[in-house]
């Protein structure tokens, strides 16, 4: 075969391999080209103070993260259908006491949020009520649901975009928790 035919064939072959690999990753849900990496990872969590969903007279602020070795900060809303998907798993996590879970109720109505929690269950130690989404902007929230992993020092360690699943938990979050716990000792 003439060499000048081999080169385009090789390039084509490489492209096929690349595209196949990318498509498989997308199919498995492990790669989403639309995901935006967060510049907050490795940096201190943005400070905030908001009324809670349950009681407007009670406030939740970022000092809460200092009370636990690791916390999840889960962005949710009653109008978000994908949040229904991850909810059973969050309930399981809360039942196991694996990690402290705080909620950021994003651009919602208080009544709707409370109804949603009473209907489906409340896995949160507390949910901050971010009616206008301003705290969301500080955290770089661009979709719902999103989940942040925050350590005791108040540093963001990881951001997960989309519903939190057992698979993501086992593969990405658990190892991170182990690392954080090891740092503490």
């Amino acid at each position: 075969m003439k060499t000048r035919f081999v080169l385009p064939l090789v390039v084509f072959g490489l492209l096929v391999v690349m595209f196949y690999f990318a498509l498989v990753q997308i199919g498995k849900g492990e790669y989403n080209p639309r995901d935006i990496p967060s510049p907050l990872v490795g940096r201190p969590a943005p400070s905030f103070i908001l009324p809670t969903v349950a009681d407007p007279g009670v406030e939740l602020d970022d000092a809460a993260f200092a009370e636990h070795p690791v916390s999840l900060f889960n962005v949710w809303a009653s109008w978000c259908t994908a949040c229904r998907q991850e909810h059973p798993f969050l309930m399981e996590l809360a039942r196991q006491g694996a990690v402290a879970i705080y909620g950021l109720n994003y651009k919602d109505q208080r009544a709707d949020a409370r109804q949603w929690l009473s209907r489906f269950g409340d896995p949160y130690l507390a949910s901050a009520f971010d009616a206008e989404g301003r705290v969301g902007i500080d955290w770089g929230v661009y979709g719902v649901p999103e989940t942040f992993v925050v350590d005791r020092a108040g540093r963001v360690r990881h951001k997960h975009i989309g519903p939190l699943t057992r698979k993501v938990w086992d593969e990405k979050i658990m190892p991170l928790l182990a690392t954080i716990r090891a740092e503490e000792s």
Binding site: I36, S38, P39, I137, Y142
Partner: protein, 158 residues
């Protein structure tokens, strides 16, 4: 004439397409200019192929409001852009910055064009050379005919 009128009528909505969807009041036209320009330089993270100015997404509205508030508060363009990048990363810049990570994005097309041109050039030259080689040598009779033709041409030009 009717066709001209029809075309103009169909094109008329384009003039309106730059009208802002929001009604953010500005006292200072300079500030309004800056707001518009910043809205065009920042990306909507939901409709990721649109700028904040073009997008109808709710997040785009929220972010435009944020830009408006900061412009009104007297923040500089650089400050506002830094604010957004600190929260959303480089991707929020509609025009990607030129960094080593984006060199391929910026210079890739030019590289491809140059490579393609070189390949095309060499291919054409090679093919021409082959065509000439295949044609083979001229026979003696053909050479005589060629000479006669050339001489005739010269004569004709007088």
């Amino acid at each position: 004439m009717r066709r001209v009128v029809l075309i103009l009528a169909l094109l008329a909505p384009l003039a309106a397409s730059h009208a802002s969807i929001d009604a953010f009041p500005f006292d200072d036209p300079a500030k309004e200019q800056r707001y518009r320009r910043l809205s065009e330089e920042l990306r909507c993270l939901v409709c990721q192929n649109q700028s904040l100015a073009d997008s109808n997404a709710e997040l785009a509205l929220d972010l435009r409001r944020k830009v408006y508030e900061q412009v009104q508060a007297g923040k500089g363009d650089g400050e506002i852009v830094d604010y957004m990048v600190a929260r959303y990363g480089d991707f929020v810049l509609y025009r990607p910055p030129v960094r080593p990570r984006t060199w391929l994005l910026w210079f890739g097309p030019l590289l491809l064009l140059l490579t393609g041109s070189v390949v095309l050039f060499r291919f054409v030259r090679h093919r021409n050379a082959e065509a000439v080689a295949e044609a083979g040598e001229l026979s003696a009779a053909e050479r005589a005919r060629l000479a006669a033709l050339l001489r005739d041409d010269d004569g004709g030009r007088e």
